[in-house]
Amino acid sequence: MNADIDGEIDQADKGHLDEFLAANDEACALRAELETLCGTIDSVEAVSPPPHIRHVIMNAVKPTPTKTESPGILDILFASPVLKYSATFAAGVLLTMSILSSDEISHRAFDDVTGLVGTISDPISGDIVNSISVDNAGVAGQVSLRRAGSMLILDFDLVTNGPVEIEADYRDRSIWFNGFAQLESSGTTISAKSGSVTLGMEGKRRYAVYLQNSGERDVTVNLRFLTGGEVLHEASLKFEPED
């Protein structure tokens, strides 16, 4: 019966089955039931993959496959998305601390910084309250907003084709930039001032920006992705505390 419904029955068996069904009402009912079930399953629509996935994969594949070089820790982390943020954050903490001691980051705009990565006690936990996908020729990926107590965490998982600047503007001056964690050891810059954080990046990056929202106020983070001063994409992430 299954083979008949699936169109995979040969003529001889089909003849036998038809004879059997003609003489057996119960079998006929069973076949009808089975056919309905198969039709129902077949009518379930295919789910579309996230739009940025193709960019992420193409960005991760090297021009020519090489097997002789042993991968570094960053290659391993990047090649295994299932490791997710727990691993990337752990690496990010160490790497960011070394970056912060280097001259790569502009310190001029850190006037309002209240703390850095070391102040975050439990960086992994936190519920996603909002997220957006970006699918642009210049930048693709996801940005999520998580809440962990009074901390708001912006998770960036992005791939760009060239240098891109990201402005995260949250206006409310009672909210403070509290820290930054990233996986890559170079190529990302960050500067913060009252009400906004600006990041500069190129290639594939995963990083997190920590904001202290002690008053647990409503926050809208307006994101602008720019290249050479031109806006590539704009989006907003909203946090509304539960009553």
Binding site: V44, P49, P81
Partner: protein, 178 residues
């Protein structure tokens, strides 16, 4: 101009042609993502599996046996990766409802999402060896012979697993009131 077949695209990929790989990716990202999603019931995990699968495929293209069909190799990797993730999780994720904007009315949208959720919930009650045959048959449109190739099991086993899987799904749907 005719579309290059998978074997030609693989040969070009091995020579370093990223465009050829992108063509394969465009062709297969949706079935791979759907296979992973139906196995895992979680879109984020399905995305991760899809990425891992294509990176593994790219890195191992030179070990691909051209006597096999590319999709059977690809789907096998996708199902194995999904099973690995399931093994690590040992838990069931809550169903995600993410409405798709495809021009349907809100009623059609709701009915379609409900049906999908019911089938998915029933699917998650079925053991992985049975779930894989249902996914290959109904969501990836494979024939018995193709399922047999992907899972490397005899066609006779495919038929008996599919029969059992459908019985299990019917029972699960009946239990949930459908």
């Amino acid at each position: 101009m005719s579309k290059p077949d998978d074997t030609t695209l693989i040969e070009r990929c091995i020579k370093g042609d990223r465009k050829a790989f992108e063509t394969l990716l465009i062709q297969y990202e949706k079935p791979v993502f759907n296979a992973a999603y139906r196995m895992l019931n979680n879109k984020e995990d399905a995305s991760d599996v899809t990425q891992t699968v294509f990176l593994k495929v790219y890195e191992n293209l030179d070990s691909f046996d051209p006597s096999r069909r590319f999709f059977s190799w690809l789907y096998r990797i996708a199902l194995n990766e999904s099973i690995n993730v399931l093994g690590k999780q040992k838990r069931l994720e809550p169903l995600q409802h993410e409405p798709a904007d495809d021009g349907k009315s809100p009623e059609q949208e709701v009915a379609s999402a409900e049906l999908s959720a019911e089938i998915q919930a029933a699917l998650m009650t079925v053991k992985t060896e049975y779930r894989t045959v249902v996914i290959l048959k109904h969501f990836l449109g494979c024939s018995y012979m193709e399922i047999s190739e992907v899972l490397e099991i005899p066609e006779k086993t495919v038929k008996s697993r599919l029969y059992s899987a459908r019985q299990m799904l019917k029972d699960a749907l009946t239990r949930s009131g459908n």
